[in-house]
């Protein structure tokens, strides 16, 4: 009976030290993953949405797009998979903004958890869900008639690069969510990603665009990122260095912004 006589604060006890960074990040990530898996509108809709876009590009617009020597499905699918997170990642920004307006972020910030753990946990979880989008989208690509032009190993290398992109885009969308005042605004802000996705070589050859638009397409990160995945699939390495450099740069810029934003509350 002694336990029932303990007051609640005694029964709870105070931890001797704050949580370790790995443990705190793990808890943050676990919660974000649970939310994703247990919310059908998140995990199912992301898949449906990416399949619908791919279907439209492949069968609706595809017939009118000339991709040079290769067929449009060969041209489209690799870069579509590489950039799918630009479409589905808006969910990350929305989730981050929702946590803020629902008071969940306040709770986390009031706990003795380092701000790096908050960003790291969120990044790990959302990179996993975004990689899930990449895998399902790749599967739809094969279902819609795409075949690997090179070896399986080339395919895996391309998939690995896409996984790296998932991390990069995740960090960018987290920052968008942190700066958005609410979920609707986060949804709106994530449309910026469409500008980069569409005005690139991902869905159409950049040379088909008017001359004044081509510099934007050429010098923004999505074009080399898409081209690098196509190149890896055929056993090449062109644009891979540039794509990786962009990836490192984006993560290096956006991660500290996220941490600082959490720190300022």
């Amino acid at each position: 009976m002694t336990t029932t006589q303990l007051t609640l604060p005694q029964a709870l006890g105070r931890p001797a030290r704050p949580p370790r960074a790995a443990s705190a990040s793990g808890q943050i990530a676990l919660r974000a993953l649970r939310k994703y898996v247990r919310t059908p509108s998140l995990c199912v809709m992301a898949v449906v949405q990416s399949a619908m876009f791919l279907f439209s590009f492949r069968y609706v617009f595809g017939g009118a797009i000339h991709a040079g020597a290769t067929s449009y499905v060969e041209f489209l699918v690799p870069s579509y998979v590489a950039t799918i997170v630009l479409f589905t990642g808006g969910g990350v920004a929305v989730a981050v903004a929702e946590d803020k307006t629902a008071g969940f972020t306040d709770r986390l910030l009031s706990l003795p958890v380092s701000r790096y753990s908050l960003v790291l946990g969120r990044t790990v979880a959302d990179s996993v869900t975004n990689f899930w989008s990449i895998l399902t989208t790749a599967a739809f690509g094969f279902a819609f008639g795409f075949r690997l032009p090179g070896t399986w190993l080339d395919g895996l290398a391309a998939l690995g690069l896409c996984a790296a992109y998932a991390v990069v885009f995740t960090v960018v969308f987290i920052v968008m969510g942190l700066f958005a005042p609410n979920a609707q605004a986060a949804q709106g802000m994530s449309l910026i990603a469409f500008v980069f996705a569409f005005i690139s070589s991902a869905y159409v050859p950049a040379t088909s665009m008017p001359g004044w638009l081509q510099p934007f397409s050429k010098y923004q990160p999505i074009t080399p990122m898409a081209d690098a995945v196509r190149s890896l699939l055929t056993g090449g390495t062109s644009d891979v260095g540039l794509a990786l450099a962009w990836s490192v740069l984006l993560v290096a810029v956006f991660t500290p912004v996220a941490v600082l934003r959490y720190r300022r509350g």
């Binding site: 919660r31 958890v113 509350g265």
Partner: protein, 344 residues
């Protein structure tokens, strides 16, 4: 402002010239406050007074533009991590993950407080038991009623065994039964030695829970002190009556004024009148006699102690008057100048 506590035990809160700005809006404007630990402290004030900003500043979520705020002697600006180890925050919204069960929510928060796996499980179980969440503990929080969700949120702020619990409007939007349940939980924690800082705009809530109240408006402290002292300061008993016939309310009011020598207040419904009665029961008897002489039938008449409503209205009115006449602001009653309540 003097600090009444010994050097061995730093006060719960010490704010000196605490100023917080959001862009051009000044939410806290040089707030001064010293509060000893061992009490339930209620922050009262109208909407927009700065109550929530103050709690968020204590919780290290907002950085002061100038001035200091020490929580148990730790500075929120220079040692936020140290402050976070002492506090548990339950904000205005129930900050629980709806897709996780109550138990999962509590265990996660316990881990984030720094508990190991086993200790987190024990802490979650203890909270579930004490906050009457046993039946719903393994259901998703999204299916909870408002009261259950609020209790779960309260529990989540507790699983790390904080020394100071911060409650921002803990019962806003709850039905009376749920409200009582939250109050009981808060009283139990306070009795067991957890310091509690709560904001509320329900005066009855402060009346129920708080030992000490701080009234703030426009980001400054209007008054602070023990609840009883503040009431005594406004101090006088009030005679309230309601007449059967609205035509007679003015006549009844005149009798009130003749006896108490105070101006009577009439309510808009037209049947109630009230006036401060420094003479207490003797004046009540005189009013009853006077009403009988004038053949005025009353439905109800009585003497009541001033409530926090009276205190609050008097203070905000006084402050508004002073602001108009340009006199110096009301001197806050120093919370810390009073002796520590002996622990029961």
């Amino acid at each position: 402002m003097s600090t009444g506590t010994g050097p061995s035990r730093p006060p719960l809160l010490q704010a000196r010239g605490l100023t917080v700005r959001f862009g051009k809006v000044t939410a806290l404007d040089g707030l001064e406050l010293t509060a000893p630990s061992g009490r339930v402290l209620a922050i009262l004030g109208p909407n927009g007074a700065g109550k929530t900003t103050f709690v968020r500043t204590v919780a290290t979520l907002v950085r002061p533009a100038s001035g200091d705020l020490l929580v148990y002697g730790r500075d929120v600006a220079t040692d936020p991590a140290g402050v976070r180890r002492e506090i548990g925050l339950a904000g205005q919204f129930a900050a629980v993950e709806p897709t996780m069960t109550g138990r999962e929510n509590l265990e996660m928060t316990a881990r984030l407080f720094g508990h190991g796996r086993a200790a987190a499980r024990r802490a979650a179980a203890a909270v579930i038991d004490r906050l009457s969440l046993t039946e719903v503990a393994d259901r998703r929080a999204g299916t909870y009623s408002g009261g259950q969700r609020r209790r779960l949120d309260l529990g989540a702020s507790l699983v790390g065994g904080p020394r100071l619990l911060l409650l921002d409007e803990p019962t806003t939007g709850l039905d009376p039964v749920s409200r009582r349940e939250v109050w009981d939980a808060v009283r139990g924690l306070a009795a067991a030695g957890t310091d509690i800082l709560l904001t509320t705009h329900y005066l009855d809530e402060a009346d129920e829970l708080a030992d000490e109240v701080v009234v703030i408006d426009h980001g400054r402290v209007l008054a602070a002190g023990l609840l009883g002292d503040l009431k005594a300061g406004i101090g006088r008993d009030v005679i309230e009556l309601s007449v059967a016939d609205p035509e007679q309310v003015r006549a009844a009011g005149r009798i009130l004024e003749q006896v108490t020598l105070n101006g009577a207040r009439f309510d808009p419904a037209g049947r109630h009148a009230s006036a401060p009665a420094p003479g207490g029961a003797a004046e009540l008897a005189a009013v009853i006699a006077g009403l009988a002489d004038a053949s005025i039938t009353v439905d109800e008449i009585g003497l009541r102690r001033p409530t926090l409503d009276d205190v609050f209205l008097a203070l905000t009115r006084e402050a508004a008057c002073l602001a108009r006449t340009g006199e110096a602001a009301l001197t806050p009653v120093s919370a810390a100048s009073r002796t520590d309540r002996s622990t029961p």
